[in-house]
């Protein structure tokens, strides 16, 4: 088979078994890989209302047909499940090398089901797959486990691991990729922890077969030309990493500050990409076959590690009132070692700090008190003291005090580091995303701030639905392939369609890709509808509708309903956000059950 391996590894932790299955070619051609395949498997195999932390939930790790080829950024992998934080279908993807090595071991997909009674780890290579005891690793942090696993296994392995936060089923626990990258946001680490699965190590170096090598080399060459020509991918990202955005977003009046009560931070310069580069950067590095090399290896006075990325700087810097890049880097190191998602940790703490300042919860802490934050991060991961309450995420925490208005989330997922009052299309993306407020579900930052592909008026609420929908559908394909979204700063759908056709030998136009992306998006939506989500869940916190931002956004609020109406119409959904029969027929989904 060209591009794909056509193999799925199914691991049942209740029965302690592993089995290899063939994936039908038509399923691969229709759903591609990564998020697309993950969505199909989750939709087909688990009930929408299943408890995410029960044995019935599954973890679906998947790569795509371009994985481990010469296509830039093709080492990523994707994970799909039902999120304990949001209750939605959820996928998360990460860079590094794990995805490429899994493909090298001979698999497109690994499905983890059931639940072990004792801590275990999984080892996959070209020859076989084994479930091993992991009792000695239980309770240990990421750095320790990564080192220990590498000493224990002979040969070269790439590791996925959970830290104490995952073991304790913190609802925003992440999964670490070799201690450098994370599968974050929706609590995928808690699902792995509930299954008592501590780590997955992979090794393998099988080659990917290419259908039309000559055409592949030609298209890939043209694609690389654009990466080199684009200043974002060739200059800004390698030099400053994702934090290059801090000053830009701050000037635009869209940098979340003190739990989104303001949208400009007076100390933004101190946590900017420029400051990070000057003060703590050791070197930049990259994922498998990536020329962009945005990864930051950093060192503070006390510690060293990776990151922080822009989102972490926004949510754990300005949003906590902390204007010190070393402090933010150390929060990041700690979260990475404990296995916590930094965006959600930041959004949970900012909610807590505002409630504490307003006297809603009794705790001695104010914005900017960096020394108290580390202690709170540890308490969350270990579920100690107030950490037990905060480990449930900001929505549940704030609602338990009848103060839901202080949780800055959509469907339970914390808003990333772009305030929607200064970027209206971004805000529409947050409320319509199938996994909650997310910056990776249609990148409206491109047209609204970076001029990619062209600049549009970021404050205008109307007329953005079509553009956002195309982006959402396209991103569903990028996530299915599984490529890095930074690649799309340089090239669009036409390159992706051509390179995919050359690798697999299955002719796909750019329109075919967008149609498949639309189908994936609608299946996710239907899963969520069946899980009980409705139009009322597609909403931002009241703060964004009633309180204005700062700086250029000082007279701006978010015009929610008018944007949502337009979006639903453009999607071919009814005014409650339910796909119409006509739309389902167009997508080849006629007869699919929608429980509304």
């Amino acid at each position: 088979m060209y591009g794909w391996t056509g193999k799925l590894l199914r691991v049942n932790l209740t029965e302690n078994t592993t089995n290899t299955e063939n994936i039908p070619k038509e399923v691969l051609e229709d759903y591609i890989g990564g998020r697309g395949l993950g969505t199909k498997i989750i939709y087909d195999e688990i009930k929408s209302k299943v408890d995410p932390l029960s044995p019935e939930n599954k973890l679906v790790f998947a790569v795509g047909p371009l994985t481990k080829t010469k296509v830039p950024t093709s080492g990523r992998m994707s994970l799909s499940t039902k999120s304990p934080l949001t209750g939605t279908i959820f996928d998360s993807n990460a860079g590094g090398f794990w995805g490429a090595v899994l493909k090298g071991a001979g698999y497109d997909v690994v499905v983890i089901e059931g639940q072990s009674e004792t801590p275990v780890r999984l080892v996959i290579d070209e020859e076989n797959s084994k479930i091993k005891d992991a009792s000695k690793l239980w309770g240990k942090g990421i750095k320790f486990i990564d080192k220990n696993l590498n000493e224990e296994e002979e040969g070269s392995y790439q590791n996925l691991m959970i830290g104490p936060a995952g073991e304790n089923q913190v609802k925003f626990a992440s999964i670490s990729v070799n201690g450098k990258r994370s599968l974050g946001r929706g609590g995928v680490g808690a699902v792995m922890g509930a299954k008592k699965l501590k780590a997955i190590s992979v090794s393998g170096n099988k080659k990917v077969e290419i259908a039309d090598k000559e055409q592949f080399d030609f298209v890939n060459y043209e694609l690389k030309k654009w990466i080199k020509a684009n200043p974002l991918t060739s200059e800004a990202m390698p030099k400053f990493g994702t934090s290059m955005l801090v000053n830009l977003v701050n000037e635009a009046g869209a940098l979340p500050t003190r739990n989104f009560t303001e949208t400009q931070f007076e100390m933004a310069e101190n946590i900017s990409g420029e400051m990070l580069t000057d003060k703590i950067l050791q070197k930049n590095s990259g994922c498998y076959n990536c020329p962009i090399r945005c990864e930051r290896r950093t060192k503070t006075k006390n510690e060293e590690g990776h990151g922080p990325e822009y989102e972490t700087v926004g949510l754990m810097g300005s949003n906590l009132g902390v204007g010190d890049i070393e402090a933010v880097a150390e929060f990041n190191y700690l979260c990475n070692d404990l296995g916590l998602d930094t965006i959600t940790t930041g959004g949970t703490l900012s909610c807590f700090m505002e409630m504490a300042e307003k006297g809603i919860v009794e705790y001695d802490i104010s914005f900017g008190e960096a020394d108290k934050i580390k202690n709170l991060i540890e308490k969350i991961a270990l579920r100690e003291g107030i950490g037990e309450e905060l480990a449930r995420g900001p929505r549940e925490f704030a609602h338990s005090y009848d103060a839901g208005e202080f949780a800055m989330e959509v469907k339970g997922l914390v808003l990333p580091a772009y305030d929607p009052r200064g970027l209206k299309g971004r805000g529409l993306g947050y409320i319509t995303s199938n996994r909650g407020a997310c910056h990776l579900r249609g990148n409206m930052l491109g047209p609204e701030l970076l001029g990619v592909p062209k600049m549009i008026d970021r404050f205008q609420p109307k007329g953005k639905s079509g553009l956002l929908i195309n982006q959402q559908n396209f991103v569903a394909i990028i996530d299915s392939l599984v490529l890095c979204q930074f690649l799309t700063f340089a090239v669009g759908e036409e390159f992706i369609a051509r390179v995919l056709s050359a690798v697999t030998g299955v002719e796909k136009t750019q329109q075919d890709l967008l149609d498949m992306g639309e189908r994936i998006w609608n299946i996710e939506r239907i899963f969520n509808l069946n899980a009980g989500f409705r139009r009322e869940d597609d909403r931002l916190p009241q703060r964004f509708l009633k309180e204005t931002g700062s700086g250029p956004a000082s007279n701006q609020v978010f015009e929610q309903e008018v944007m949502l109406d337009e979006y639903y119409r453009s999607r071919g959904w009814n005014n409650q956000g339910v796909p119409t029969e006509e739309k389902l027929k167009d997508l080849g989904l006629e007869g699919i059950d929608i429980d509304v």
Partner: protein
């Protein structure tokens, strides 16, 4: 949006990509389409020259809409384009009378377009042939030439569709200049022989 349509109309005329009453421009917003009026002066559009009508259904707007409305609708239905520019760029039209595909030889044209297919139709204005052929190519290309008639370019934004049109015309002018001057080309692009396979 009205201002942008007017500006693109003016710029197309200034680049010699349309005659005074030639070409048309549209933008999709959900299930509605804004399109220039039939017979309007594209370089001097007024608000009343920009007509709103349905994407799927006819309404009174079709009385005034461009003759090419059917082609625009079909492109929107078959692709995810959100904007279309139809122009009659002089150099590109001239090349389309001779070639089955236009392959830019200049650097910018090569980067942006690689190759522009040329399709033929007996009836070139608002016909079923055009409705069938043009959207099919636009599933895979940003811009396509209808032989002897003009270009159809698509984009997520109007500015993009305008850029492809402008870029094609510039590239076509360079090709025509090279040809008329009998200059022997010195190739500087790796893989240039593969552009016809794009």
């Amino acid at each position: 949006m009205y201002d942008q349509i007017k500006q693109v109309g003016r710029d197309l005329f200034l680049q010699n990509a349309v005659s005074s009453h030639g070409g048309n421009i549209s933008v999709r917003s959900g299930d509605r389409v804004l399109i220039t009026r039939r017979g309007s002066m594209i370089h001097n559009l007024k608000d009343s020259d920009i007509i709103e009508t349905g994407l799927f259904k006819n309404d009174s707007g079709v009385v005034l809409a461009s003759t090419e409305l059917k082609v625009h609708r079909e492109i929107y239905l078959q692709t995810t384009a959100l904007a279309i520019v139809h122009a009659h760029p002089v150099n590109a039209v001239a090349l389309s009378l001779e070639q089955d595909e236009i392959i830019p030889v200049d650097s910018e044209g090569s980067y942006l377009l690689h190759k522009v297919p040329v399709v033929s139709a007996e009836h070139t204005v608002g016909s079923k042939e055009v409705m069938k052929e043009v959207p099919e190519y636009l599933k895979n290309y940003k811009i396509v030439m209808l032989r002897g008639h003009g270009s159809f370019a698509v984009g997520q934004m109007l500015e993009e569709a305008y850029q492809w049109t402008s870029s094609l015309e510039t590239s076509a002018e360079i090709i025509n200049t090279v040809k008329s001057s009998n200059i022997e080309l010195k190739e500087y692009r790796k893989s240039s022989d593969k552009y016809s396979e794009w």
